[in-house]
Symmetry: none
């Protein structure tokens, strides 16, 4: 069974945005055992869209279109589909009612464009889009399937996960593929690969390991591809055994599985131990706190924090001593140490994370170049610190520091008894 993805949008053809939707779709379909054999991007033009549907339908069993659905004039995907199918358009009262309901809730009124948005090609099966007003559209045509989704990434992702992939599975079945992903922090891809070299060189047949690094964390995906005779349970057992071996070998470098992330893992550990925490951030500017707060229910363990971007705030809100700042500078071990102590004391929490550094691209000095970042994690009794020496890319520095800080906090909670400081390399 072959799938073609067709992405619609002039903005992709002129390179204004990168088509990350197709990559995500390819990945998800692959993980579900489906095969994408072509990805195409075409402009917002009726003939280009119908022409490419006509070409793709020859090779593909399923065509997934994204983009070109919505309330403004440049939305022509629906017309292209109707023309390809040779059907007319009808006004769908349910779609319009949903738009009206949505707008009423916001205290606004739908307009003429929204009324036009409610016209659908006649043979459509609508897919409810809980993330927006434009529904997904599913068509069956001469034994082939044509699906159209909005191009807004979270709407497309919702429709793929809740509607399209389940329907494809029930329609086509899949040759069993089982994946299991574990997530690590604190070690690079090659260091991890060396540590599990023996496991990797004696994998059972049909089992593969892939490393997916991402700025401070590395996901290790173990996959078992069925030969047609194995049940999903058998494949699960195969994968499970390898995953257990890897976890044993990597120890506390592993912090989670599947779609887990560092802040979720830290949050779970704090919840279990009935602990609370706070943040004291300078160069990360609230990014660590924001990452923690992304998790539902974080208010149970996260009490808040200070974005102490100025020295005045470091002193006023975190009790960092003026003499410390004068003697060591804001980017120093002594400062982050006092920031932790100030946050633990002033905010009344069990644990605090502190960061101070030069994120760049400007602001460096010969002895503290751009990328010099001090991290600290601690409680009332001890503070552990760490110095990062990163590059000049501001956003990358902030992101990497955020992950390292969350991982330091995780290891602090995991190993509270080690009273030696600077245990991290």
């Amino acid at each position: 069974m072959n799938i073609h993805i067709i992405t619609i949008g002039d903005e992709i053809l002129i390179g204004q945005i990168v088509d990350t939707n197709s990559a995500w779709m390819g990945q998800q379909l692959n993980l579900s055992g489906f095969r994408v054999t072509a990805i195409k991007t075409v402009g917002d033009e009726l003939e280009a869209i119908t022409g490419n549907i006509r070409t793709s339908i020859k090779d593909a069993d399923v065509i997934l279109l994204t983009g070109g659905l919505g309330a403004t004039k440049d939305d022509i995907t629906k017309k292209a589909i109707a023309e390809f199918l040779g059907v007319g358009m009808y006004f769908d009262q349910d779609v319009y009612d949903r738009i009206c309901y949505f707008f009423n809730k916001l205290g606004r009124k739908p307009n003429e464009a929204h009324r036009l948005q409610s016209y659908m090609p006649e043979t459509v099966q609508l897919l409810t889009n809980k993330m927006g007003t434009a529904p997904g559209m599913w068509f069956e045509h001469e034994g082939k399937i044509l699906v159209s989704m909005p191009g807004v990434p979270y709407e497309m992702k919702y429709l793929m996960g809740a509607e399209v992939i389940p329907r494809l599975k029930s329609k086509f079945g899949t040759k069993a593929i089982v994946h299991h992903t574990i997530i690590t922090a604190g070690h690079g891809e090659t260091a991890l690969a060396l540590r599990i070299e023996k496991i990797e060189s004696s994998l059972p047949e049909g089992v593969k390991i892939a490393y997916l690094p991402n700025l401070g964390t590395v996901r290790i995906r173990v996959s078992a591809y069925g030969n047609g005779n194995e049940t999903e349970e058998e494949l699960n057992d195969k994968v499970g055994a390898v995953v257990d071996e890897i976890k044993k070998e990597l120890g506390d470098a592993v912090f989670g599985e599947g779609e887990d992330n560092l802040s979720l893992s830290l949050g779970r550990m704090l919840l279990e131990r009935n602990m609370t925490m706070a943040t004291a951030e300078s160069c990360t500017g609230g990014n660590i706190a924001a990452r923690i707060v992304q998790n539902p229910g974080s208010s149970a363990y996260f009490k808040g924090g200070v974005v102490a971007y100025s020295n005045a705030l470091k002193m006023g809100s975190l009790n960092v001593k003026e003499s410390t700042l004068r003697a060591n500078g804001a980017v120093s071990e002594a400062t982050v140490r006092e920031m932790v102590q100030g946050a633990v004391g002033n905010l009344g929490v069990d644990l605090a994370i502190a960061v101070s550094g030069i994120a760049g691209p400007g602001g460096g000095t010969p002895d503290k170049p751009v990328g010099t970042i001090w991290l600290a994690v601690g409680d009332k009794e001890q503070v552990r610190t760490r110095l990062l020496k990163l590059g000049k890319d501001r956003l990358k520095n902030i992101e990497y520091t955020t992950k390292q800080a969350l991982n330091m906090a995780r290891l602090f909670v995991l190993h509270p008894s080690k009273n030696k400081e600077n245990i991290l390399e």
Copy 2:
């Protein structure tokens, strides 16, 4: 003159890497006045490649292929091209000598794969690749042009800049294309479309408008496609006139152009006025601060903030009164008002943003359902507030609220004299 880009690689189809090559090529070609009408990605398979060349050659005058060239990839692209052209392969001594020279310099020896890499389709014109061993290949076939480049980004970029674009220019001349993008906040795509309906329905020939919405902001792109007789200056004037009309019509809904964003725009305005600001965030958890700090140089106007996730912190760090919290709850107009006042007073800044809400998915009550979020922006003299009623998606709520807060702050700085409160709808 139409160009198709064909990218070759299984790793793109399974979403292991995102195809950024095509976006870059699209951008460069567009800037040179060429029009890309389709981008296709196909797997490392002979039939897929020849099949797509055959289809594309019908619509395109030029096909640019990337990927599938090199010593490890089995050189499948070259075979596909030779098959499409109906020609044989020959051993190119110059190509092989260059590979040998390159390897000798590294103290290594070329192997059998490198010898095979030196076979070329018979009608090729070679394009010297100064960044690697696989040359670019240029073919002319029945009035059409077919070019093949390695997929390694810096090799492809070198060949595009040094060889392909100059040759295309001398072959076809260029029909100029000019784009200009303005960015708006605070209004939906359809509301904007209605406001500029008259402009859009009387656009000069060759001019197009596209809307690119993204959770709280909408980019409006105005493009002029030359007819061959117009100079770039004339097209610039055409686009400029439409852009000016739209800006005039949309007024303060427009906050920037090109690659601008809300926090950059706000930062610029604060810098110009020599003003400082701070944040007091509850449900956005530091996300507004983090967005501001992403901008280099933000320390000149951003002093810091409080992530007052707990009520204790709202009282302790922002002087929110216990009686206010008791009478109105943490998610209330009165609370965000006091958060702004506390932040302005305690952090010693000209302006503060405050947010308190229920980001979800849990935590709602009948009179304050999930998605109820209060925003406030103010200075010593006045505070403007706004109530958002959003959905249940936590991350979407945080992101949308962040953009609305930044936009409220921008409008506050822009219209300081309006002393009327709640001016936003």
